[in-house]
Amino acid sequence: MRIQTPLARARGFGSAKDGTHHWWWQRLTALLLVPLSLWFVASIWWLVIGGAGYAAFADWLSGPVAAILMILFIGATFYHLQLGVQTVIEDYVHHKLIKWTLLIKLTLASLVFGLASVYAVVVVALRG
């Protein structure tokens, strides 16, 4: 027996009102982040823990491959982060006002930090 009305089935969005969008992008960004985060660690590790200095860092980041992969990594990371922490907040914070305040802060902070990171990459990459 189906409890759903035919209209609800046709819309197909379920109770969250956006269907599988959240689930799907969580997975898609995760899939992207498997190679990207391995590349990220492999590339920056010696720059960071070795304290290689600005010149070495800028030299690495001003290559086109590094800059583009870095921007892709930043985008996937902050989107994945936003989706993941959203789920954690929804699961554990039950006070309505606190929950929505946190969710709005999370979304805006992810956007601002993500954009700031991309901006910084572009600045360093173009300055060389």
């Binding site: 995760a30 700031a116 990171s117």
Partner: protein, 131 residues
């Protein structure tokens, strides 16, 4: 729906910790902690954009004992979240749902994340000392 204080399932207070539940909650905790690492990434990149003088501040912090402790924690959390994420992908594909497989993949995942953390530090420090 007037009553708001009903207990929620699972009742963590009376739930015996198992490998599966502990690894699951660690996935969330490492994820949230990696969020702080992402904020550090932004700071690191912004100081680089501001110029060599400010980038030196980031390097000073990251190569301090607190920086190294954070990097050690972030690197382990990243590999843990990565390996367990791959484990989740197998589940999404409908694979590895038996109790045996779930426990085996859990142990394998922890060993892999410890191994990758050790490997990254080994290679990183080797670069550092041979530079």
């Amino acid at each position: 729906m007037a009553h708001q204080d009903r207990p929620l399932s699972p009742h963590l207070q009376i739930y015996r910790p198992q490998l599966t539940s502990v690894l699951s909650i660690l996935h969330r905790m490492t994820g949230v902690f990696l969020g702080l690492g992402a904020a550090m990434l932004t700071c690191w990149l912004l100081t680089a954009a501001a110029g060599p003088k400010y980038y030196a501040w980031s390097e000073w912090f990251l190569t301090s004992w607190l920086g190294y402790a954070l990097l050690a924690a972030w690197s382990f959390c990243l590999f843990y979240h990565l390996c367990n994420g791959v484990r989740h992908m197998f589940w999404d594909a409908g694979l590895g749902y038996s109790m045996r497989a779930t426990y085996a993949s859990g142990v394998l995942m922890v060993l892999a994340s410890l191994g990758l953390t050790g490997l990254s530090w080994g290679i990183g420090l080797a670069f550092y000392f041979t530079r």
